[in-house]
Amino acid sequence: MKAKVYITPKQGILDPQGVAIERSLPALGFEGVANVRVGKYIELELPAGDGAADEVDKMCHKLLANPIIEDFRFELETE
């Protein structure tokens, strides 16, 4: 089964990348863009099963995300 993991900087935590992109957009002709936040999007495949959600949750906590400064959520898809 496939897992899609979305990782975003925690609210209130500085996101230097987002700020830099936001500041550069007007020069490229994109006006009025705000609140740019840059996170990660991870796809992976794992063995299907009841425990899959638990597994992915653990994976996020331990490795994929940094829970101290990042939030995450994920979706599971069975093909």
Binding site: P16, Q17, A20, I21, S24, A27, L28, V38
Partner: protein, 243 residues
């Protein structure tokens, strides 16, 4: 217009572009001024005028913090339009490290950069084999010569698709590759996972050159070597003695 055949060493003029976040701008500037007999001046990334210059250096560093992707934001700096025109008119453009990444993002050189295979920043002296010693940037070296130049980057893992690679090979655009002490291009000698150990490439016309290693860091034996001087000597030779 670019250099005329009357250029003398003392009148060759280099421009070093300063983007917000550039940090090897001063090193490149110093290398030119100390070892070529030519003169370098800084160009602000908002400048749009390159008249009177013979060679433009896009220096190393972390333009715009290298946020999003290395070079992705810098390539939209106002000066890049002028740099593109300058190159189209035959001017010499060299991108070192971050400058190389900017040239890739700008599409002025083929390919793209991935994160290093080891995922870590790597700063060390590496060996390079000069694959094409006919470019304006490498003519002071012998074909196949092994030179020692440091790298310092997180994203120097060069990639291009098979088609693009074949085309580059056909046109001799691969200028330097990572090699070992003996000059052999081996897997062990590849510091970042680059396709085919590619360390530097040029455009088809040969007047735009990008490389990850830092020649400006080894122009003075006091700080660890002088193998990088050849790049600046090549440029001077090209400008002064011409094509």
């Amino acid at each position: 217009m670019t250099a005329s055949s009357q250029t003398k060493a003392s009148t060759a003029r280099f421009g070093v572009v300063v983007f917000p976040g550039s940090n090897c701008d001063a090193d490149s500037h110093d290398a030119v001024n100390s070892f070529t007999g030519a003169e370098a001046r800084y160009l602000w990334h908002k400048d749009t005028e390159l008249a009177g210059l013979d060679c433009v250096i896009l220096p190393g560093g972390f333009s715009y913090g290298d946020y999003l992707r290395c070079g992705a934001i810098a390539r939209f700096s106002p000066i890049m339009k002028a740099v593109r025109r300058f190159a189209e008119d035959g001017g010499l453009v060299i991108g070192i490290c971050n400058g190389f990444q900017i040239l890739l993002e700008a599409g002025m050189l083929p390919g793209a950069m991935h994160r290093n295979a080891g995922l870590k920043f790597v700063c060390k002296l590496v060996n390079l084999r000069v694959e094409n010693a006919a470019t304006p940037f490498t003519r002071a070296y012998a074909p196949g010569q092994r030179i020692s130049i440091p790298i310092a980057h997180m994203e120097g893992n060069y990639f291009i698709d098979a088609e693009g690679l074949a085309e580059m090979e056909q046109h001799d655009q691969i200028v330097v590759r990572y090699c070992d002490e003996a000059g052999e291009v081996t897997m062990e000698a590849n510091p970042n996972g680059s396709l085919g150990n590619i360390a530097g490439v040029c455009n088809r016309d040969g007047n735009v050159f990008g490389l990850m290693p830092h020649p400006e860091r080894v122009c003075d034996p006091v700080v660890g070597g002088a193998d990088g001087r050849g790049v600046f000597e090549s440029i001077m030779d090209f400008l002064v003695n011409k094509r």
